[in-house]
């Protein structure tokens, strides 16, 4: 069964922001190959962290909206967390009944 997920990723700030989308793309293929769909990719860009993560004071934020199976999302999250350029990830399930898609 396919569900709607919201994934937030914090990437290493030393990364060039132009390379963010191509980098994420390789992981999004995990979703696509499993029959899921990527609805939206939002790059927030560089942002100050409220506290240090692995000695970094900044991070590049990205928010993904997905429709995928739990297994596919779990696998993507696992692959992401193995990467050293990924400081942190968060996966939340959120049903599409959401009107407040601002920020």
């Amino acid at each position: 069964m396919s569900r709607h997920y919201e994934v937030m990723i914090i990437l290493d700030p030393t990364l060039d922001e132009r390379t963010v989308t191509p980098t994420l793309e390789t992981y999004l293929n995990v979703i696509r190959n499993s029959g899921g769909s990527v609805e939206n990719v939002e790059i927030w860009g560089r942002r100050r962290l409220s506290y240090e993560i692995l000695k970094h004071t900044e991070g590049i934020y990205a928010v993904l909206d997905l429709n995928a199976t739990p297994e596919a999302v779990k696998e993507m999250d696992r692959q992401l967390s193995l990467q050293e350029i990924v400081l942190r990830t968060k996966v939340l399930r959120r049903e599409p009944a959401r009107a407040t898609a601002k920020v």
Binding site: M8, S50, T100, V103
Partner: protein, 77 residues
């Protein structure tokens, strides 16, 4: 002798005006519900309903995990 009631004033929940569902990514909104030390404000301060307070609290905790909001600190922020 109890002619005037100085307390028990109605506060407007602030949320009712704009959002129906609290988004944990809306940092600007959530900042209004934490003190300058980073603590979540009590319901008697925020004037929210129990349900809204819960939503806000969960949203703040999610935002904290992603370093969008600070954790409470004893020293100055």
């Amino acid at each position: 002798m109890r002619e005037k009631k100085p307390f028990k004033r109605k506060r407007n929940p602030l949320l009712a005006a704009k959002v129906s569902e609290v988004d944990w990514k809306d940092v600007e909104l959530l900042r209004k519900f934490i003190s300058d030390r980073g603590k979540i404000r009590a319901r008697r301060v925020t004037g929210l309903t129990p349900q809204q307070q819960k939503q806000v609290a969960v949203a703040i905790k999610n935002a904290r995990e992603m370093a969008l909001l600070p954790y409470p600190t004893s020293h100055r922020v």
